[in-house]
């Protein structure tokens, strides 16, 4: 049957129009990523340059948009022709691939580079499956950040970073009065969920946060926390502009860069956009953990290494893993991307004030993982649906919404 299909299919098309990729003795790797915004691309370029310096050949397959990149990647896997590396977050999304035996372990690189000592234990555990290391971490992102334009704050007469949500909303009122868009809101579900989570952490604390997402604890306390979160979250609706729906995060950041808007809730990758635009942390823009928050939500990026069945690519994967974990590269990459280096043993002096703050929280273990690390992709999707529905539905019925929240775990 298969050979008949082959015959028919090849017969129907004029053959011989494609040539296999050129074979080279240099370790060649195709890397698929959706890091296409300014800071992201600049950061990827750091890895690329070093990889090429060490004799590797880099083939870039950038696909904008996580959805499109996921679709392309999964189909390449299905076809048995995966790229040599894929950029992806550390978390349950990778688990199924590893479970199906589709990724190459990079145990020997990890052992040689003493990753177990260099990385925080929690991260090391997350990149290992059944005792073997599979993912090469590039950097951690703090996701509890509130960025603000110093110019906008000055124009509105805000002199101090708000300590509480009440102070915060008072500040937003001042911004509004000064004719500035108070919140540069990115109205896409994944962004809204991040805001929801940073507020949640500020309301229920680290233990409460883990209880909800890890233990799926539906106690009175948890429900009360969700309600308080939804209250603050819902209030924000009054401070966004008309164009918020569907806005990309980098477009929202651009509103701060041009001082059209006052604040943005976002992960620290937003710093990459400020950097590309020549703005400096602490001088042109400020960064603070959201009010009342005892810590920070984090997410971690990594490279995945699918099995390609090609010895050259295997070699390249190992080289790439080494490059990614190189202490100098970790710092350089983080500076461009806006992230915090994964390695604890790197030179921190170069990091900006925001990254320093982030690193402080990381080392003190005052962090909780992002939902992508804790939930399955289905649950992450349902959480996005829940938050988006509440945000855009305009309802203030927090009690029944809090009830619905727990349905995402079923």
């Amino acid at each position: 049957m298969k050979s008949m299909m082959k015959l028919l299919l090849t017969g129907a098309v004029f053959a011989g129009m494609f040539a296999p990729a050129l074979a080279d003795d240099k370790p060649t790797i195709e890397i698929m990523s959706s890091w296409t915004s300014g800071g992201e691309a600049a950061a990827l370029d750091i890895i690329k340059t070093e990889f090429e310096k060490r004799g590797g050949v880099w083939k870039d397959s950038s696909i904008a948009g996580f959805g499109a990149a996921d679709a392309a990647f999964q189909n390449r896997i299905v076809a048995g022709d995966p790229p040599g590396a894929k950029q992806g977050v550390i978390g349950l999304a990778a688990a199924d691939f590893v479970g199906q035996g589709l990724f190459n372990p990079i145990d020997d690189v990890a052992a040689a580079g003493k990753w177990a000592d260099a990385l925080p234990k929690s991260i090391y555990d997350l990149i290992s499956y059944d005792g073997k290391v599979y993912l090469a971490p590039t950097g951690a992102h703090g996701e509890s950040w509130l960025f603000y334009s110093k110019e906008a704050f000055a124009r509105a007469g805000i002199v101090e970073e708000p300590k509480t949500w009440d102070e915060f909303f008072a500040g937003l009122d001042k911004l509004k009065a000064a004719g500035i868009v108070p919140v540069a809101w990115g109205g896409q579900p994944w962004q809204q969920t991040k805001v929801f989570n940073m507020i949640l952490l500020s309301q229920v604390g680290i233990d409460g946060f883990l209880k909800i997402y890890v233990d799926k604890d539906k106690s009175e306390a948890s429900i009360e926390g969700i309600k308080k979160t939804l209250d603050i979250f819902g209030k924000l609706r009054g401070y966004v502009d008309d164009g918020a729906a569907g806005r990309n995060w980098n477009d929202a950041t651009a509103m701060l860069i041009t001082a059209k808007a006052g604040v943005q809730f976002m992960g620290d990758w937003a710093k990459g956009e400020f950097t590309v635009a020549g703005k400096e942390a602490g001088k042109d823009y400020g960064c603070m953990i959201v009010p009342e928050s005892p810590g920070m939500v984090y997410i971690a990026d990594s490279l995945w290494f699918p099995k390609t069945g090609d010895a050259g690519a295997d070699k390249a994967q190992k080289l790439l893993a080494e490059v990614v974990m190189d202490p100098a590269i970790q710092v350089e990459f983080s500076l461009k991307k806006g992230s915090v280096p994964m390695r604890a043993d790197v030179d921190k002096s170069k990091l900006d004030v925001c990254a320093q703050k982030g690193l402080e929280l990381m080392t003190a273990d005052n962090v909780v993982p992002d939902q992508a690390i804790l939930l399955t992709p289905q649950q992450v999707g349902l959480l996005d649906d829940f938050v988006d529905e509440y945000w855009s539905g305009g309802s203030n019925d927090m009690a029944s919404a809090a009830e619905n929240f727990f349905a995402i775990f079923e």
Partner: protein, 295 residues
């Protein structure tokens, strides 16, 4: 009547590749989807059968139900809007006007644009902070509101607007061709009877264009069920669920959400729904044609 039946080897042979596609690709895929819809497949196909669980989940999903409702509203308004505007434009162009071919080109060119580009550009034009609203306000009309893409109640109509902009030209061309095929005598007779022009279009010409317009409607409807690109480019399903469509729901679950079982259940429901809706219609046409052939 067809040429008398004898095994036409060449004809049969010529259709073999198409048979292959129809059976292996179309039926094969459908069978594969239906089978997977009864499993708990996540990222990859699994063979653990779970009965109707995925279907139950599907119909508890507010997003899925909203997507069905949206595609229905969008489909009806989009097809009807294209037919109406296309017919009106054709009738206007049929009135012996100047610059006919320039107008025709203007009305037809959007059909060359992809749904992605159509979605992007209309998203921009209807975005209140960048587009028409901002421009009108800066001219001095401070309270002017045109915020369809970001307004939950209006976003679906923004999609319809963009869709009609893209598709009306096709209907116009088809209707115009039909109008040009109408005998001059019919016109003369109607004019002698003193029937006003608009009445001639409505009660004499429109019925004669029926089959051509039905074909145009069919062409457009085939696209409706697959509506995906324009939604992703314009609203990405939002705000909320207000522009979510089934093809996007399926796509999201197929890849990003790693939920093959639910995606295939959605596809199965969609296809079965369409077939039950279309089959009686096609059957009626088939019977009508047979009756005609026998007469």
């Amino acid at each position: 009547m067809p040429i008398k039946r004898k095994p036409h080897l060449s004809a049969t042979f010529a259709l073999l590749p198409t048979w292959f596609v129809a059976v292996v690709v179309f039926i094969g895929t459908m069978a594969w989807s239906i089978r997977l819809s009864f499993t708990n497949s996540t990222l990859f196909p699994s063979s653990t059968y779970v009965g109707f669980t995925q279907y139950v989940k599907l119909f508890y999903s507010a997003k899925w139900l909203a997507s069905l409702q949206n595609v229905l509203i969008f489909g009806v308004l989009y097809v009807a809007g294209c037919l109406l505007l296309g017919f009106l434009l054709a009738a206007a162009l049929d009135r012996k006007i100047r610059f006919e071919s320039a107008f025709r080109t203007i009305f037809l060119y959007p059909y060359a644009m992809s749904f992605v580009v159509t979605g992007l550009i209309w998203q921009w034009m209807l975005n209140p902070t960048l587009g028409i609203q901002a421009s009108v306000r800066s001219l001095g009309w401070e309270t002017f509101v045109l915020d369809w893409v970001v307004n939950r109640d209006m976003a679906i109509y923004a999609l319809v607007l963009a869709g009609v902009w893209q598709g009306a030209g096709l209907v116009m061309v088809i209707a115009l061709a039909g109008m040009r095929g109408i005998e001059a005598e019919q016109w003369k007779a109607a004019r002698i009877d003193g029937i006003p022009v608009w009445r001639i279009y409505v009660s004499i010409i429109l019925p004669q264009l029926g089959p051509a317009l039905a074909a145009a409607g069919m062409l457009l409807a085939m696209g409706v069920i697959k509506t995906y690109d324009i939604v992703v480019a314009m609203t990405n399903g939002g705000p909320g669920n207000s522009t979510e469509v089934p093809a996007k729901f399926i796509m999201d679950n197929l890849f990003g959400r790693q939920n093959l079982g639910l995606a295939t259940a959605g596809a199965t429901v969609l296809v079965l729904g369409v077939i039950t809706a279309v089959a009686p219609f096609r059957y009626a046409i088939y019977m009508r044609n047979r009756a005609k052939g026998a007469a």
